[in-house]
Symmetry: C2
Subunit: 370 residues, 2 copies
Amino acid sequence: MPDVISFSRGAPSADIVDVEGLKLAAIEAFDTDPAGLTGYGTSIGYVPLRRWIAEKHGVPEDHVLVTNGSMQADAFLFDELISSGDAVVVERPTYDRTLLGLTARGAHVRLIGLEPDGIDVSELRRELEAGLRPRLAHVIPTFQNPGGSTLSLAKRRELLALAEEFDFVVFEDDPYYDVRFTGETLPRMLDLQDGGAAATDGRIVYACSFSKTVCPGVRVGYLVGPPALIKRIATRATNTYIAPSQVAQGIVHRFVSGERFAPALETVKAALADRATRLGAALKEHLPQARFVQPEGGYFLWVELPEGEGHDSARIAAAAAERGVQIVKGTDFLVEGGENAFRLAYSAVHADRVDEGVRRLAEAVAAARG
Amino acid sequence: MPDVISFSRGAPSADIVDVEGLKLAAIEAFDTDPAGLTGYGTSIGYVPLRRWIAEKHGVPEDHVLVTNGSMQADAFLFDELISSGDAVVVERPTYDRTLLGLTARGAHVRLIGLEPDGIDVSELRRELEAGLRPRLAHVIPTFQNPGGSTLSLAKRRELLALAEEFDFVVFEDDPYYDVRFTGETLPRMLDLQDGGAAATDGRIVYACSFSKTVCPGVRVGYLVGPPALIKRIATRATNTYIAPSQVAQGIVHRFVSGERFAPALETVKAALADRATRLGAALKEHLPQARFVQPEGGYFLWVELPEGEGHDSARIAAAAAERGVQIVKGTDFLVEGGENAFRLAYSAVHADRVDEGVRRLAEAVAAARG
């Protein structure tokens, strides 16, 4: 078996993480706030980090809750808002763990098509007008996982208008927002909602993470939402784990408050841009029949092969694995369909291995058609 | 209002935590395993720490799962084993968050009396013989929270025999085991079960934490149990938060593997022993009517006032708060009763404030009788 090239995991390679900066941040954090780092803290999160997040988003602190990674934030929100039988809108395709989390809670998941400019709001409107009454619409608006697409400004406004008209919560799951390496930054829906982000009756709940900007190993994510909801989730978090790690949050706080954060993020973005560019070029060369959107940011590229040619993403993934290449099959991100698709995470593949990975993958696609 | 003396929270004061040692451990951890600390890791926990725990308990690594604090471990276990309507045995009184967690899951909580040598196994046997069929018995065998008592060796064996005979799981919730400052160390039930701790059919699930031996702010706890159960909980943990903080676990691992851990734990134990001794003496002086067991370890002392004198722990707690003393009222640890009781955590009260705290508390007890 050749060396393994993994396009499977949405994680940065270790070489683009500012480990030295994190170590210095740890030293500073223990030196400056020993009691804060070593004590239990509370479920709202490490207070200075919560304040930093509130300032970043221009909201009062009571709109923010820091969690043990943003998937934990999703879990708390779903536990709080979703009852068995509730309709929940998600994108088609969407993050596999979101699908799992929703179906595990008995949600009636309604998948709405994803276009190159984000969720198909016309399709959503038709469904709503036909009687769909979702409790929540979960969208990953920026560099969607797995689709890679970004919701346009016009559609952001339309989605908010639909949420108002049909009375549902928009869960803006946005871990990749700060990992844009080209193109124009769009405003968050959190910032577009009526009354602004500080509105206490906001119907946006926003989730983000430091996994993509600092590193995954800290496991620090957060929610921004209406204070009453945040307070209920804080109670739930207290009863689940008392508090997220104050040590990890203290280190994140010192790191993002310090001078090394901005250049560290530039390093990540430059490396990812390079990897994404090479991935697009390699796909065009080795797998010219593949359709994909060239990413402007984030970690993922979603590949669709022509339909009606008998592709089977499980067989492709197996054939790729035999050739030392790991991918995630498209069917994982859908309730049905996806046999002709797969997700490529370029975040962890060193630039000089991208072409070789795609070359092997193209072999696997051919072999899997058998 | 005078300065606040808090007997309410089971947490060490910051001055007895080896902050310098933790800082050095953080430096070492980032230096020696940057990829391990900064990557996602998996839900089983940071691999070197998991191995350290497995070695500590003499079990294979697949018996161990590290969690975001041991309360999170409780939550995962309850989610895995308890369905609405299941009977669960707990001690009377017991940890308030355990009661909350069980009742929130619809468990039928059966409280069994706590004696100075632990849960009343004779009462439990009578209940079992009368038809009680618990799914789980939750016990805090060492320096029980809030009761302070420790389960005797004979009763440990009896409880295990009952678990075998009546087919229930014993959840040995044991965060205080290593915080003994006097008296004889008893074997864990985990180590007493048939076939030894490595038995794959073990009916003990053991939980412990580094909150009491390192510091709470790391939020690192763990479960030891049968591999099949651990594997199911690992899947649940993956779907909840992917993994606990690798950064926090990496720091804990370096700290507990290093030379500073043993003396740091001695510092904690010496300070707690001093505080517990002063607390017992102060109660005898200022509140001679109080009944309590002088702790041999742990964080807590449970005070009972004579019954039939109209004591009301909520009124006492309020009167104490007016005097700048925080306690937790006994009723929080029981489904019914506890009006004449309260819990004193001495872990966070500096030795020179203990007597003053109890003096004010005695005033509060008198005032609350009105």
